[in-house]
Structure formats: structure tokens, C-alpha cells
């Protein structure tokens, strides 16, 4: 087991290195290179540029620059200063983190709860009207563009009915306006959770149906266990595994936020910060978010693999090695959020 853990984490190393090379290449291939924003300023002379390059270490050979950059970014988590605001990127990220965690946490909580519930009910009532209705809802949830749903929700609930604010986030400060705070949260969290739960509830439903076909369920029923115990103690445990892997794989987005939803609802989270950075060609900020997101994804993919092995003893380390991990991993298709 320990050997497996070590090997599994070791497998993440080349991935991280490749990510870092790609990110570094991005920084230098970007239009204008790392000093693109500064060199566009007509007041900056060629000597200024040379001085800036020297200050940032950009006159050194590329491999050396890469090593410096790697040490700075990946070992010290120092992403440098934003080209636009001049503040450290890590500080900007930390500032946006609470709003991101709040929105994504709420959406995740709703999606997990409802997803598991809907999936369970749909599986138990298989082939009935309820199953069909849930199936239609989740297919619609996977087909609908999140931003469109957001715009329509704003039109109905804010512009027409005037019930909820159209966007933004109220600070929980001196006023302690909890209700107002929640009113801002409701729409984006609900819409975001729909995108997640439509996928997760399907995994749950299929997982349960598959579990019901298992011999151990027949055994449990045959030995006279109540249906409640069969479903909740025996079948559900088995069915939760694929859902769990998919959910764990999505956990990194809790930190990186949802670009589209945050943009539609003017939510001051990480996703929107990324988007603003993109619009202003603020490459340090963009790369900061991308690198953090990648590292989190690598981490949680590994955790997901290990978790599924811990929960399901049938998945042996040996099988993992042969399948190179990727075989058990699922790409949860869903709308970009």
C-alpha cells in the first residue's frame, strides 16, 4: 500500500513538470513576451526595457530562467506581481478565495445532496414517471448553456419579478446583512449546482442499478433483510464509489471558481479574476490561476485514485499500475461552468 502510494504520487511528478514547462512556454510565447504590457507603453524607451529585462532576469538564457521561475513558482508559490495592478498575484488570489469558496461550496453541497437523492430515487423508481422526469431534467441540465440559464434567471427573477439581485456579492461586514448576502448567493449557486448535479445524479443512478444486479444484493434479500437495509446499507455503499470519484475530481474547481457563472452574476471570485486578467493581458495572474488549478487537479486526481482503491478492495494496486490509472478515471462530461 505504501509502495503504491509512493509510486502513485511519483507518477504525478512528470505531469507537474510538463505543466510547468507548458506554463513557462505560454508566458514567453504570449504576444510581446513577459514584458509585452510594458513595452506597449510609448513612454518606455529601449534602455528602460533593457533595465526591466535585467531586473526580472529576462536577459539570462531560457533554461536558467526556467529553473529560477520553477523554483519561485512551484517551490515557493510566489507567482510574481500582477502586470496590471502591481500587487503580488498570491495576495490577489487570497483576496478572492473567500467569495470563491462560498459560491462553489454552496453549489457543491446542493449538488451532492440533491444529486445523491435524485439518483437514488430514480434508481429505486426505475422505469416510472419519476425516473423519466428526473432523466429529462438531468439531460436538460447537461444541454443547457450555464450562462444562458443565468441570463434567463436574471431576466425572470431580477428584471421581471424583482425578487433577487441581478448579481454581485454583498460583504458580510459591519451591517451583518445575512439575508441580503444569501439573496445574492441563491441564483448563482442554484444554477451552478444544476450543472453539477445533472451529471452526478446520473452516476448515482447507474451505480445503484449496477449494484442492484450484484449477487450480494440477492444474498442480502434472500437472507431476509429489510428493503431499507438492502438499499441503504448494501447497495448505496457500492453505488457511491463512482460518484465519489467524479465529485473528488471536481473539487479543484471549488478553489478555482467558475469563470462563466461568476462573470454572468458579477461574483467577485477567482474565475472572474482569471477572466479579467485575460482581458487585460495580465499573464502573471493568468498563469498563477492556471498553475494552482493544475496542481490541485493533479493532487485530487491522485486522491481520487487512492480513495477509490481504499473504498473498493477489488481495485488492486496491481490493476492500477497496469491500467496506468487513467482507465479507472472518468471524465465527467458536463457543460463548462
Amino acid at each position: 500500500m505504501t509502495a503504491f502510494l509512493v509510486r502513485r504520487f511519483a507518477r504525478a511528478v512528470p505531469t507537474v513538470i510538463l505543466i510547468s514547462v507548458a506554463a513557462f512556454a505560454c508566458l514567453h510565447l504570449a504576444p510581446g513576451g513577459p514584458v509585452g504590457v510594458i513595452s506597449g507603453n510609448p513612454k518606455v524607451t529601449e534602455t528602460d526595457l533593457a533595465r526591466i529585462r535585467e531586473n526580472f532576469g529576462l536577459d539570462k538564457p531560457l533554461p536558467l530562467q526556467y529553473l529560477y521561475w520553477f523554483r519561485q513558482v512551484f517551490l515557493r508559490f510566489d507567482f510574481g506581481k500582477s502586470y496590471v495592478t502591481g500587487r503580488p498575484v498570491s495576495e490577489m488570489i487570497l483576496q478572492r478565495l473567500p467569495a470563491t469558496l462560498e459560491l462553489m461550496g454552496a453549489a457543491f453541497a446542493i449538488a451532492v445532496l440533491l444529486g445523491v437523492m435524485i439518483g437514488t430515487v430514480a434508481a429505486l423508481k426505475r422505469g416510472t414517471l419519476i425516473d423519466d422526469v428526473f432523466s429529462i431534467i438531468s439531460t436538460v441540465g447537461m444541454s443547457v448553456p450555464v450562462f444562458w440559464l443565468g441570463l434567463m434567471a436574471i431576466t425572470v427573477f431580477s428584471l421581471k419579478l424583482g425578487l433577487l439581485p441581478a448579481g454581485g456579492r454583498s460583504e458580510l461586514g459591519a451591517g451583518k446583512d445575512v439575508i441580503g448576502h444569501l439573496r445574492h448567493l441563491v441564483l448563482p449557486a442554484a444554477i451552478l449546482s444544476l450543472a453539477y448535479l445533472s451529471v452526478w445524479s446520473r452516476y448515482m443512478r447507474v451505480g445503484l442499478l449496477e449494484a442492484f444486479r450484484g449477487d450480494f444484493i440477492r444474498t442480502a434479500r434472500a437472507k431476509g433483510l429489510g428493503e431499507g437495509i438492502v438499499v441503504f446499507k448494501h447497495a448505496l455503499r457500492n453505488a457511491v464509489l463512482p460518484v465519489l470519484t467524479v465529485v473528488v475530481m471536481q473539487v479543484p474547481t471549488i478553489f478555482t471558481g467558475a469563470v462563466i457563472t461568476e462573470t454572468v452574476f458579477s461574483w467577485p471570485g477567482m474565475g472572474r479574476m482569471f477572466y479579467e486578467g485575460l482581458q487585460r493581458h495580465d499573464y502573471t495572474r493568468i498563469l498563477g490561476v492556471v498553475v494552482i488549478a493544475s496542481l490541485l487537479i493533479v493532487l485530487f486526481n491522485t486522491i481520487g485514485d487512492v480513495l477509490s482503491m481504499v473504498i473498493d478492495p477489488r481495485i488492486s494496486p496491481h490493476r492500477f499500475e497496469r491500467g496506468a490509472g487513467v482507465c479507472t478515471r472518468k471524465t465527467a462530461a458536463g457543460a463548462p461552468v
Partner: protein, 301 residues
């Protein structure tokens, strides 16, 4: 085998027919069963047909400007109203379908070709090639795809051919994985062994004997990928980095309409509705295909 015969009888097919012929009948008889799939196919056919015939069926030219009607709601002349430049929205919606579907189609084609090639290489050759491909899949599954897509799209300038390239290059992993897995299991099959022992060369072994068996999950993945690509394109367009106006796509029409949400809500409703309906139909068709192609197992979500 016994099960196949039983199934054949259930579907009213003579189990004594040669297998290929039987499978063909099987396919069509199963394909026509579910009603939602049938309706979805009809709707997709309509949407594609109208999009292809766009210049013939639209009441106005794609970029024709009607200065007397700027930002109007629905009227007899302009059924869906007009945008801020006085262009007819119905016309642009139909042309938008053309570009949206085109982008999605090319994206999926690119992704499928990449996925098939890499998956075949990894599964057939194995060893070092497998390590390389699996590593690449791992890498691509470890990047925040949408953020990177956005970044790449912002570099690309949003031309009609760059967007499908970018989407295709970041969505081939599922196909590669499926093909690799199929090839790995096919390698042990007796008919492959037999073909090899008869001296069939590698190329025809791959293309004639093995690939056809690996195709059904790829087709299902491609249909789902089509819907996915449409959603990604519209999301990119919505953020301003997709296909750029004046070429209309449903995504950039939506982005445009967002500013005038209060004045002409229908302009924001229509393109999103079209995206939603088309994706919905594709999902149902892929569901039907999955069933018809007998692609069972844990991926049926």
C-alpha cells in the same frame, strides 16, 4: 452466444442469419424503438437542413441592416426582432446555426482523429508508445481545460478555423482512452490471433480487423463530444473569445444580447434555446446509439 440468439428472437430476427446481416437488422430494429430518439433525429435533421439552406430560407441577408428597426421586439417584418445594428435576428439565428454546427462538427472530427490515432498507437503497439500516450492523456486531464481553452482562444484571435482546432486539441482524451482499452482487449481475441497467424499485415489488421470493433464507443463519444463542443464554443463566444462577429454563432449572439437584456429579452432567449434544444437532441440520439450499438457497461451515464 445463447444470449445473442435469445435477443435475436425477441427482436424478431432469425438467429440463423449470417452474423453481419443479423447485426445490421438488429441495429435498425433497435434504432427505431425509442420515440424520443426518433423525434430528436427529426429535429436535428430539421436544424441541420435549415442551417445548410440558410441563404434560401432566411428573409434577409446575413448582415443586412434595417435602419428603421433598431433593437425592436418581434414584429411582422422581423419575427424575432432586430439587434442593435438593425439586423434581423431570425436571419442571424439561422446563419448562426450554420457556424455553430460547423465549429462543433470540425472540433469533434479533429478530436476523434487525434483520439483514434493515439488510442490505436497506445493499444496496438503498447510499451513505450502506450506510456507516452497515457502520459499525454494524464497531462491533458490534469490541466484546467476550460481555463487553458480560454487562454488559447484569446491568443488565437477567434477566427473560424482556430476555435475548432483549439476545442479539438483539448477534447480527444476520452476517445483515446476508449480506443486504447478496446485495442488492449481485442489483442487477446481469437480472430485477431487467427488473422495474424494467416500473415495479415499490421495495417490491414488494424484497419480491417480491429478498428471496426472499436468504433461503436467512439461514435457514442463523438456524439456526446458534439454537444460538448457546441457548449464550449458558445461559452467561449459568450466570454468574447469565440468566433468573432460579424460571423454569427449562437454564442456570440447571446453575448451581444446580454447588454440589451432589459429591452429585447427575446434576443437572448432564442440563441440559448437553440443551443439547448440541439444539445438535448444530440444527447437523446447518443443515448439511442449507445443502445443500438450495444455499448453497455459502466459508462452509460
Amino acid at each position: 452466444m445463447a444470449e445473442a440468439g435469445l435477443q435475436g428472437r425477441i427482436w424478431g430476427i432469425d438467429p440463423s442469419l449470417p452474423s453481419m446481416q443479423r447485426r445490421r437488422i438488429d441495429f435498425f430494429s433497435r434504432c427505431t424503438v425509442p420515440k424520443p430518439v426518433f423525434f430528436a433525429l427529426v429535429l436535428i435533421f430539421l436544424i441541420v437542413a435549415v442551417s445548410l439552406l440558410a441563404p434560401l430560407v432566411t428573409p434577409y441577408g446575413r448582415d443586412t441592416i434595417d435602419l428603421d428597426h433598431i433593437l425592436t421586439g418581434p414584429s411582422p417584418q422581423h419575427i424575432l426582432g432586430t439587434d442593435e445594428l438593425g439586423r434581423d435576428l431570425l436571419t442571424r439565428l439561422i446563419f448562426g446555426g450554420r457556424f455553430t454546427l460547423l465549429v462543433a462538427f470540425v472540433s469533434v472530427a479533429i478530436a476523434t482523429v487525434i483520439g483514434l490515432t493515439l488510442g490505436t498507437l497506445a493499444g496496438y503497439i503498447g510499451g513505450f508508445a502506450d506510456h507516452l500516450v497515457s502520459g499525454a492523456v494524464d497531462l491533458f486531464l490534469s490541466i484546467p481545460v476550460f481555463l487553458v481553452l480560454l487562454l488559447a482562444a484569446s491568443f488565437s484571435g477567434g477566427r473560424l478555423w482556430t476555435i475548432p482546432l483549439i476545442i479539438g486539441a483539448t477534447s480527444w482524451m476520452e476517445t483515446a482512452r476508449l480506443v486504447r482499452a478496446e485495442f488492449l482487449s481485442l489483442k487477446g481475441e481469437e480472430f485477431v490471433e487467427a488473422a495474424r497467424s494467416m500473415g495479415v499485415n499490421a495495417v490491414s489488421l488494424i484497419f480491417k480487423h480491429m478498428l471496426p470493433h472499436a468504433l461503436s464507443p467512439v461514435i457514442v463519444a463523438a456524439t456526446v463530444g458534439f454537444a460538448q463542443a457546441m457548449l464550449i464554443e458558445s461559452a467561449l463566444s459568450f466570454l468574447g473569445y469565440g468566433v468573432q462577429p460579424p460571423l454569427p454563432t449562437w454564442g456570440n449572439m447571446l453575448q451581444n444580447a446580454q447588454i440589451f437584456l432589459r429591452k429585447t429579452p427575446l434576443a437572448a432567449f432564442a440563441p440559448g434555446f437553440m443551443i439547448c434544444i440541439t444539445c438535448l437532441c444530440i444527447h437523446y440520439v447518443s443515448e439511442g446509439l449507445r443502445y443500438a450499438l450495444g455499448h453497455r457497461g459502466h459508462e452509460t451515464v
